[in-house]
Symmetry: C2
Subunit: 471 residues, 2 copies
């Protein structure tokens, strides 16, 4: 059994568990009360706030505890936008932010605000210049994650923070994926995080608002947590969160080196062991524990199911694993393959043997899924059938049409790969598809296979994706 989805949630750190148990006895009362149980609860809350602030490198009175990272993001963005309402209503986010950020931006837009989504390169990183270029005189707030939750790419926060500071715009950093590894460098203005990502308990988020940042809390008045997080404080969980953060930080330097080596093994060996794989994310500027790759001609849900059966818990940004049947917005923004997507995120303490076992199991799993789906024989499949196509004498210019309407990912790409050998070099093939993932995966397949993606054309149903065979 190997749990490889720490980027979703990590089990509670043993130190956090101990702290939780102690605080259940000492910290259940109302910290606003003056009697002994209340005073005890207040002491625990204050101590937890100090410990968390030390880890974030902020002042304790700049930090409040929220019921989750999501709530911290909602409250942080809404409060900062409201605080700078007079300056303007322009919000900047990167296109690969966590959905909680993007959904808050959608609400802002629906209420009449304007939003700029700054794009990313194929590694998932924003360009500091592009980010800086989107700053406007009416920009109320900019948001950039410290590192991406799906591919692990670390963002240039310090550079972006500098540009924001120069423009007088506060920068909110969603540090959910990185806070366990270390404080966020740079001159940011607001920060959010989520305890269950670093081995703390569920039910705790952090919202930090630097002194001097204009902030107007939204929602009904509530005195708790400086008026920034309504509801009775969850002190046992907050205490456990702070204790866990301190504990994982103590182990972070050593564990980062170890996990980075393990994910490096996956990064380098998966493409060797499994044909037709794209490893995504920045190979250098990345989190220690996350590695993500996509496998052509495979559906993510089946791979996840097979890996689960083999004892590995991983997640996927493939469309078939989302309730909306659309591929991950992160992979889409990066323009990389989404089919057969696998995110491995190792919790601290993952034994090397688990990773080795994963590398031993993966090739068979992928091959099995491909076989079931009737995927083309990988590696050189195109070249292998090339002669046949030329021999078939299909008239160049008279485009071949593949009808994959009503078929889900990865079928449209499989069908495309099946026929490309029948297309003469220089000729085109039109893939008709109505699965949302095709829009991302057909261009990504072209990129991987060295074919030319001509473009998308409207069709009676779905779209026609035009591909020119170049080799």
């Amino acid at each position: 059994m190997a749990y490889f989805d720490a980027a979703s949630a990590a089990p509670l750190h043993p130190v956090g568990r101990q702290a939780l148990l102690a605080a259940l006895d000492e910290g259940w009362a109302d910290p606003a009360r003056l009697y002994r149980e209340g005073r005890r609860a207040r002491l625990l809350l204050d101590a937890a706030r100090e410990a968390a602030a030390e880890a974030v490198e902020c002042r304790p009175d700049e930090l409040v505890f929220t019921p989750s990272g999501t709530r911290a993001v909602h409250a942080g963005i809404e409060g900062a936008l409201a605080g700078r309402r007079r300056v303007g209503r322009h919000l900047i986010v990167s296109s690969v932010e966590h959905s909680s950020v993007l959904h808050t931006a959608e609400v802002h837009k629906a209420l009449g605000g304007s939003v700029t989504e700054v794009g990313v390169d194929r590694t998932g990183a924003v360009a500091p210049d592009a980010f800086a270029g989107s700053l406007r005189p009416d920009t109320a707030l900019a948001c950039l994650q410290s590192a991406n939750h799906e591919v692990g790419t670390v963002q240039p926060v310090a550079e972006v923070a500098e540009a924001c500071r120069a423009a007088g715009v506060p920068l909110l950093v969603d540090a959910a994926q990185s806070l366990g590894w270390g404080p966020v460098a740079g001159d940011w203005s607001l920060l959010t995080a989520s305890a269950h990502k670093w081995g703390g308990p569920s039910g705790v988020g952090l919202l930090v608002v630097r002194k001097g940042v204009r902030f107007a809390a939204r929602g009904p008045l509530d005195e708790r947590e400086s008026g920034r997080a309504a509801g009775f404080e969850n002190i046992p969980a907050v205490v456990a969160a702070a204790a866990s953060l301190r504990a994982v930080r103590a182990e972070a330097a050593e564990e980062a080196v170890r996990l980075r080596e393990l994910t490096e093994r996956i990064r380098t060996r998966v493409p060797v062991l499994v044909p037709d794989v794209e490893v995504t994310g920045d190979p250098e500027r990345r989190l220690p524990g996350i590695v993500t790759f996509s496998c052509l001609y495979v559906d993510g849900e089946t791979v996840l199911h097979e890996l689960d059966g083999a004892g590995f818990s991983v997640s996927s940004g493939s469309s078939c694993t989302s309730s909306t049947l659309t591929p991950s917005h992160v992979l889409r923004a990066m323009g990389v393959l989404s089919e057969g997507n696998v995110r491995v995120s190792l919790p601290p303490g993952t034994p090397a043997e688990d990773v080795e076992r994963f590398l031993a199991v993966l090739p068979g799993v992928v091959a099995g899924v491909r076989e079931k789906l009737g995927a083309p024989v990988p590696a050189g499949a195109v070249r292998g059938t090339e002669r046949g196509a030329q021999e078939s004498g299909a008239p160049a210019g008279d485009a071949l049409v593949v009808d994959a309407l009503g078929r889900r990912c990865p079928v449209p790409v499989i069908e495309l790969a099946r026929v490309i050998g029948d297309v003469p070099v220089g000729g085109t093939v039109r893939v008709l598809a109505d699965d949302e993932a095709a829009r991302l995966d057909i261009p990504a397949w072209c990129e991987m296979r060295g074919q030319e993606y001509v473009g998308e054309e409207p069709a009676d149903r779905g779209s026609a994706y035009v591909v020119r065979r170049t080799s």
Copy 2:
């Protein structure tokens, strides 16, 4: 050591604690994931939802878990108002609702909605007729607590629900104080509650929205909890909350009888043991564990401090114990004395000896505070000095003035009590005061002492409260 503030928060029930520990191991993963840890978490979440729904007597798909009772109230009221936006923007609340309800109503008002506050009688109960009379064609939502959190009075929810149903208006019931004792009777539409009030952990609230009730969740999109409670589910806490609810319910019938007898002792014996005390709340229609009384000529903060020193943790609605230095809005709405206010709320399991010890300690504590403050000798003090006043020959009609400007509760009332003997029967005294509590406590004192409260007049600073001596 006796903790008598269960209405604020109860310690975690042992059964809840056990459930929490088990769920920390089994329920930390993301229940939206398909791998085994995710499936296990989902099973726990589903089971907790079913158990909670059974206790509420609703369908599991009508119930979502929120991060607190406060958040359940915010989300419930905002969602119901938004769902019935087309009907109108009129909201009805009772004047003694929890602050989370009243603060949500304030936001609604600030956004252009209209709010009717239905008043209560001296016991703290709304009259069903008055509540029904406030229903209008444009009423979007009505809110009524199941029982009051400060004085324990049970509200006529079933009658009010019937009137609302007849008018086609949904009724939201804040059941925070009563859900541990039993389901809320009547045909309500929405219900909220808070786990740490019934012996569950912090960090869990309930929001129930009956099928067929129009509801439009506010805030950024989030798929969790049917889109009604954003953020990663806190499954260990949710499991503990459901287990605690089931456990306290199993003990509720027996414990209700026992606690009711203990609070009855306090209700009947405190006025005998301590002079000049007003016991508040309905003597019959009340929660088993709550009893509240106010002591003339005493400041609540000092009483709380002295009781804490004697080993009793209680709370108070006196102005001196609130951060805003205003008396509790509940006591104000009831028109009862707020000075020297003490709320005793017994947790299940409170031994009778603790209550007896409290009754033994209280008279000395109150007498000590009164002595320190130089309060008039209680009981018959007015009659005792009556002759002197008549002998002084102060001209009737030429009102005596007491200057209590800048003095905090209970000093204005003490000063009034000191001089009333100097006022001829039929004459008046004007008390100048700028402490907010005087507005409530001077009329309440008149009621208790059988004097006539004439009214409040504007003054250069604060107000002049005019009292006529009648006996």
